[in-house]
C-alpha cells in the first residue's frame, strides 16, 4: 500500500525520473508468462502440451511417475532438444523447431532444482552457491542473503558430501536462486525426505517465494505437498496436461475423477490458539460465526500469536469424515459442522458424499451400508464430523531449523 502511494506520488510529480528508478529497484520478475506448444515422442507415449501459463507464485504440476511431468520441466529448461514445437518465456522465444531456433539451457535464465540435488562434490557449500552467482551478470542477490534465506550460513564451509538430504536440497535451491532465474523449476525436490524435514523445506520454500517474488513451477506426485505449496495446479496424465486451476478446485475435480484417496482441500484462517485445550481454532473461508470453525491440534505452544490471521492450507481425507443426521453431543470428536448434501457418488465399494457448508465443499467417504441405512439424499441437512488430528497441514511450527 505505502509503496504504491509513493510510486503514484512520484510519478505525478516527475514521471520521467523517479519512476524508472523505483522500477529498476524492483526489477526482479514477479510474473512469468510461459507459452508452451510442443510435442515430444517417447517409446511408450508422446507428451503433447499446448498451454499458456501466467505464473505469479507457485504453480504445481501433479501426475503419477512416468506421466511426463519431469519431462515437461526438462523441455522448459532446454534439456530436451528433441521437442518439436515452440516454447517461449516472457515473450522471448526459447525454441522453435520450425526455424531451428534453440536457446541453450545456460542462456535461458531458468533455474532447475533436481530431485537428486546434483551438488558438485568437489566444491564446498559456499563454492556450490558461488558457481551460479559467478556466472551471473547484474546480480541483485548476495550469497550471504541467500545463505540466510535457506538457513545455511552455519554450514557454508562444509563439504557438500557430508550434508543430510534436507541440507543438500537447501544448497541446491540456494544455488539455483543465486543464478537469479526469471523462473524456477523444481522437480520433486523433497520427495526423498521424511515428513518433518519435508515440512521444514516447504515452509522455507514458501517463505523464499514470498520474499523474492520469484515465479516457480513445482512438480510432485504428492497432492498434499502441492496443496501446501502451490496456488494453482496442472495435472499431467500420460503426456496430456490439464489447464491450470486453483489448487482447491483442481483437487476437488480429481475426487470426482476417481482419485484413490478423495479429500477436501481448503484454506483456513488461523483464529485463535487454545493452549488449555491443546487446540487451534481456524475459521472457514466464508465463516459467519465462530460455529463455522475447525479445530486442529495446537500449532504453536510458544509465540502463540504468531500465526493469527494467516491462511493455512489444509487437507481432510474423505475417509476421515463421517456423517451424522443428528448433532452428536456426547462424543470425543471435536469437529461437528452442519452441512447440506449436494451430491452422492456411488462406487463398487463405497459412497463419496459431497457436502456444502456455505460456499465450502467437503467430501465424506462412507460405506454403501451406511449410505443405505441413513437413507442419505441430496439436499438433506446433516452434520459432518471429524477428529482434530484428521486435519493435515504441512505447516512447520518449529521456529528454528535444526542443522
Amino acid at each position: 500500500m505505502s509503496t504504491n502511494s509513493v510510486l503514484k506520488n512520484s510519478s505525478q510529480q516527475s514521471p520521467n525520473s523517479a519512476l524508472p528508478c523505483a522500477i529498476e529497484f524492483n526489477s526482479k520478475p514477479t510474473l512469468a508468462k510461459l507459452h508452451l506448444d510442443f510435442s515430444l515422442a517417447f517409446d511408450s507415449f508422446t507428451i503433447e502440451v499446448k498451454q499458456s501459463l501466467s505464473i505469479s507464485a507457485i504453480i504445481g504440476i501433479y501426475g503419477d511417475s512416468g506421466s511426463g511431468k519431469s519431462t515437461l520441466l526438462r523441455v522448459v529448461a532446454g534439456l530436451e532438444q528433441r521437442a518439436m514445437g515452440q516454447v517461449s518465456l516472457n515473450d522471448t522465444q526459447l525454441q522453435n523447431s520450425a526455424d531451428n531456433a534453440f536457446i541453450k539451457p545456460e542462456k535461458r535464465h531458468i533455474g532447475l532444482v533436481f530431485q537428486d540435488s546434483r551438488l558438485f562434490p568437489h566444491l564446498s557449500v559456499y563454492q556450490n552457491l558461488a558457481y551460479g552467482a559467478k556466472r551471473q551478470k547484474n546480480r541483485q542477490l548476495t550469497i550471504e542473503k541467500v545463505l540466510s534465506l535457506t538457513h545455511l550460513s552455519e554450514m557454508q564451509h562444509q563439504n557438500v558430501t557430508q550434508l543430510s538430504g534436507g541440507e543438500k536440497q537447501r544448497v541446491s535451491i540456494a544455488r539455483a536462486l543465486l543464478a537469479e532465474p526469471e523462473l524456477l523449476l523444481l522437480d520433486e525436490p523433497f520427495s526423498a525426505l521424511d515428513k518433518t524435514t519435508k515440512s521444514q523445506m516447504l515452509t522455507i520454500l514458501k517463505d523464499i517465494q514470498q520474499q523474492l517474488q520469484l515465479p516457480m513451477l513445482y512438480v510432485s506426485h504428492s497432492l498434499s505437498e502441492l496443496q501446501y505449496i502451490a496456488d494453482q495446479l496442472i495435472v499431467v496424465n500420460h503426456g496430456q496436461i490439464s489447464t491450470a486451476k486453483t489448487i482447491h478446485q483442481a483437487i476437488h475435480d480429481l475426487n470426482s475423477q476417481g482419485e484413490s484417496s478423495p479429500k477436501t482441500s481448503l484454506s483456513l484462517t488461523v483464529a485463535e490458539h487454545l493452549p488449555a485445550y491443546g487446540l487451534t481454532r481456524l475459521a472457514l473461508p466464508t465463516a459467519q460465526s465462530p460455529e463455522q470453525s475447525i479445530y486442529l491440534p495446537i500449532l504453536e505452544q510458544q509465540k502463540s500469536q504468531h500465526l493469527i490471521g494467516q491462511q493455512l492450507p489444509c487437507i481432510i481425507y474423505a475417509r476421515d469424515i463421517s456423517i451424522s443426521t443428528t448433532k452428536e453431543e456426547h462424543s470425543s470428536i471435536v469437529n461437528h459442522l452442519p452441512a447440506t448434501i449436494t451430491a452422492i457418488q456411488y462406487s463398487k465399494t463405497n459412497a463419496l458424499v459431497t457436502l456444502d457448508i456455505g460456499l465450502q465443499q467437503f467430501y465424506a467417504q462412507i460405506s454403501l451400508w451406511s449410505a443405505k441405512r441413513m437413507a442419505l439424499v441430496t439436499q438433506a441437512s446433516v452434520y459432518l464430523q471429524f477428529k482434530a488430528n484428521a486435519v493435515h497441514s504441512y505447516h512447520f511450527t518449529e521456529p528454528t531449523i535444526n542443522a
Binding site: 545456460e106 533436481f114 558438485f120 562434490p121 568437489h122
Partner: protein
C-alpha cells in the same frame, strides 16, 4: 661416439618423443573420448574397435602400413613433403605420428570410461547455472575425472617409451632423430654388448615400475576421495 653418450642421446630422443606424443594424445584423445562416451549410434562400436586395434595388432603391421603411407610416392607423404619440405618417412615426426596411433587406446579408453561414469547429471546442473560447454569442461569434468587423466597421461607416456616395432619400421635407426631406447637396446644385443643391454633393460624396467606404481597410488587415492564424495 661412445656407447654411453649414444645411449644418452637415445634416452633424450625417447623422452622427447614420448612427451610430444602424450601432449598430442591428450589434445586429440580427450575430445575423441568425449564423443565416444556421448555418441549413441550403432556405428559407435566400429569406431571403438578402430581405437582399440593397436592393443591387439602386431606393431609391425601398423608400422608397415604407415611406412607405405609416409613414403614420398604416396599421397600423405607427398602432402607432408610439400607442406614442410622434408621427407616424412624415417623422421622424428614420423615416429611421433606412429606413436600417437599406437598409444591412442591407452589414453582414449580410460578417459571414455571416466566420461561415461560421470554421466550428464552434474553437467546439466552446471548448464542450468549458466555454464557453457567449455566452462563446464574445465569447472566440472576435469576436476571430477582428474584421476583418469593422470592414468591416461601416464599410460600414454609409458606405452610410447616402450614401443619398438613401429619405430623400427618407419623410423629406421638415425641417432638423435629416430634412434630410441628400445632400438638402442636391440643394437646392443645384436652386437653381443650385454653389459650395456643390462643397463638399459634394468633402467627401463625400474623406471616403468616406478611410474606405474605412482599412477596406481594416485588412482587409489582419488578413488577413495571420489567414493567418499559420491556416496550419499
Amino acid at each position: 661416439m661412445t656407447d654411453i653418450s649414444s645411449d644418452i642421446l637415445a634416452l633424450t630422443t625417447t623422452l622427447k618423443m614420448a612427451a610430444i606424443t602424450t601432449v598430442i594424445l591428450l589434445l586429440l584423445g580427450t575430445p575423441l573420448a568425449w564423443y565416444l562416451a556421448k555418441w549413441q549410434s550403432r556405428l559407435k562400436v566400429f569406431f571403438e574397435a578402430i581405437v582399440a586395434l593397436p592393443i591387439v595388432l602386431p606393431p609391425t603391421v601398423l608400422g608397415f602400413y604407415l611406412l607405405l603411407a609416409f613414403s614420398p610416392t604416396s599421397l600423405p607423404g607427398q602432402i607432408w613433403q610439400s607442406a614442410t619440405g622434408n621427407q616424412l618417412a624415417f623422421s622424428f615426426s614420423a615416429i611421433v605420428i606412429g606413436s600417437v596411433l599406437y598409444s591412442l587406446p591407452f589414453v582414449v579408453q580410460p578417459l571414455q570410461k571416466a566420461f561415461e561414469q560421470l554421466g550428464d547429471q552434474h553437467l546439466e546442473a552446471a548448464a542450468m547455472l549458466g555454464a557453457g560447454p567449455i566452462d563446464r569442461f574445465f569447472s566440472i569434468v576435469l576436476p571430477l575425472t582428474k584421476a583418469s587423466f593422470v592414468t591416461a597421461t601416464a599410460l600414454g607416456f609409458a606405452h610410447t617409451v616402450g614401443e619398438f616395432g613401429i619405430v623400427l619400421m618407419i623410423g629406421g635407426n638415425i641417432p638423435g632423430e629416430t634412434r630410441v631406447l628400445s632400438i638402442a637396446l636391440f643394437d646392443h644385443v645384436e652386437a653381443f654388448n650385454y653389459a650395456n643391454a643390462h643397463w638399459l633393460s634394468a633402467g627401463l624396467l625400474m623406471s616403468s615400475l616406478l611410474l606405474l606404481s605412482w599412477v596406481y597410488f594416485l588412482g587409489n587415492n582419488f578413488n577413495k576421495k571420489q567414493h567418499r564424495s559420491i556416496s550419499p
